[in-house]
């Protein structure tokens, strides 16, 4: 089973991101779960969401404590939340930032990091406003690339079922897929 944790802010779409990823994996014949952290957070507050992916039937309904991947929708959260909590030894952290992945890996004290300027991708694709760019589709695109857990096509297919701006969001995912950078120069 592969377990992914998302960090974002209320209203930013972390929960939707977790569902898109689950949907993409589901399209590749996996069993999946996607769920938010069960809190009472309000708009603006940090929120967490999860995706579980397995090629067997997932019966385990417990939350995720040791993720394989952590995805951070906004870099400013790094100082507000313990984003690497429980991350597996060889886990990877994907951050929406312009910064260099090696530097980020070091800052976070993890072995593997990946970075994508999802904000820029979103702005390029006219997703959200300048003050509130919608980055969740871009970041899932980037995740497909760096993790190999799901294919780009599956992510795009999942995104295309969104009720609004589906094509632009799909394009953001494709763009991010192309632009994401991983630490260690990979």
């Amino acid at each position: 089973m592969i377990e992914i944790r998302f960090h974002g802010r209320g209203g930013q779409g972390a929960v939707v991101a977790s569902k898109i990823l689950a949907d993409a994996a589901f399209r590749e014949d996996n069993d999946v779960q996607a769920f938010p952290y069960f809190g009472v957070e309000r708009r603006g507050a940090p929120v967490t969401a999860f995706t579980k992916i397995d090629n067997k039937h997932i019966r385990n309904k417990a939350m995720i404590y040791q993720p394989d991947y952590v995805i951070i929708l906004e870099a400013s959260l790094i100082s507000a939340v313990n984003v690497t909590e429980g991350l597996k030894e060889n886990g990877l952290v994907l951050v929406n930032t312009r910064d260099d992945p090696d530097e980020v890996a070091e800052r976070l004290g993890v072995k593997r990091a990946a970075c994508i300027d999802a904000t820029q991708v979103a702005i390029d694709n006219k997703l959200g406003s300048k003050f509130q760019p919608i980055v969740n589709t871009a970041i899932v695109g980037a995740f497909a690339k760096v993790s190999g857990v799901v294919k780009k096509e599956s992510v795009v297919d999942a995104i295309l079922t969104l009720p609004r701006y589906a094509e632009r969001n799909a394009q953001a995912a494709r763009d991010a897929y192309d632009r994401v950078k991983v630490s260690g120069g990979a």
């Binding site: 209320g10 009472v40 957070e41 309000r42 708009r43 603006g44 507050a45």
Partner: protein
């Protein structure tokens, strides 16, 4: 060169609360506590304000505060007042602080009972025009035409079909001695009204128009300025009713409703004819208010 403060400086609400960015309801609480002061007991039902003070053991409220089941505010403040009376404790303000859903819908019966018994309490309805704590469902106080998650636009245009419930009129029909409306955009007026209410014996009711950027799908920075437009479009009116006599406490120049609506995502689907219909309704209601003011003031004058 430093201007004098126009509202009391003492803070009885602390930062670190759980309100959304730019929450009008938190402003409402801040002002109410400034007006009421320390010798105040608050009763809060389920609503955003049941979450905002904080998760145990934290609280942002510096007055004693009782959380209660959703529909009980009226009964709860009656119980508090009865207990204070039984214990011989005087000079304590008992304030119920509930949302529009907790007031106009599920709490209206308990409130009606309190008013019928003429219990000496102040009931405040902070009005963000929907159930926000549960994620933006319609309430009785949701205006005609509004999108909420239970009045979706969808294919059929299932937006809210009935006008905003007139809770002050309902309370006026109960014959209580003081009723007022206020808004967070005018804290001085709000504070004056709360103080006045607390100086009167009996059941008092204040409805505070409190913008909710989350539920209104609006830039949080507009929380204050939107209230001014609400007033000038007659979407909300400021007045008070003292022993049946109406007084409109602000009569701004009329501005077009559409400008107000289009700043808020919850209204953005509204076709022009619907806007016109809503606007006409608001204008009529405002005229009614003017008439009531004239009529009740004349009557009061003549009976003096």
């Amino acid at each position: 060169m430093m201007a004098k403060l126009t509202i009391p400086e003492e803070e009885l609400m602390s930062p670190g609360h759980m309100g959304c960015l730019g929450c009008g309801a938190t402003q409402a609480m801040r002002y109410v506590l400034k007006a009421a002061g320390k010798r105040t007991i608050l009763s809060i039902p389920a609503c955003c304000w049941a979450v905002m003070p904080g998760v145990w053991p934290n609280t942002c409220l510096q007055v004693p505060e009782l959380y209660t089941p959703f529909e009980t505010t009226g009964a709860s403040i009656s119980g508090i007042r009865a207990a204070l009376d039984a214990l011989g404790q005087e000079d304590i303000n008992v304030i119920g602080f509930a949302g529009d859903g907790g007031t106009a819908d599920i709490g209206i019966q308990a409130l009606s009972g309190t008013a019928d018994r003429e219990d000496d309490v102040l009931y405040i309805m902070y009005d963000n025009e929907a159930y926000m704590n549960t994620g933006i469902q319609r309430s009785g106080s949701t205006p005609l035409g509004t999108w909420t998650t239970t009045t979706p636009v969808g294919v059929k245009g299932d937006w809210e079909k009935s006008p905003k419930k007139n809770v002050t009129a309902i309370m006026a029909a109960h014959g209580i001695p003081y009723i007022a409306t206020a808004t967070t955009g005018y804290p001085e007026d709000l504070i004056r009204k709360v103080k006045k209410a607390l100086s009167i014996k009996g059941t008092k009711f204040i409805q505070i128009f409190s913008p909710c950027p989350t539920g209104w799908k609006m830039d949080p920075a507009l929380t204050v300025s939107i209230t001014k437009e609400a007033l000038s479009t007659r979407a909300f009116n400021l007045f008070e009713i003292e022993n049946g006599v109406y007084r409109i406490t602000m009569k701004p120049k009329k501005t077009p409703l559409k400008e107000y609506l289009m700043k808020q995502g919850r209204f953005r689907h509204m076709p022009d004819d619907l806007i016109a219909k809503v606007e006409a309704g608001l204008d009529t209601a405002y005229e009614n208010l003017l008439h009531l003011e004239e009529f009740t003031q004349k009557k009061a004058g003549s009976s003096q």
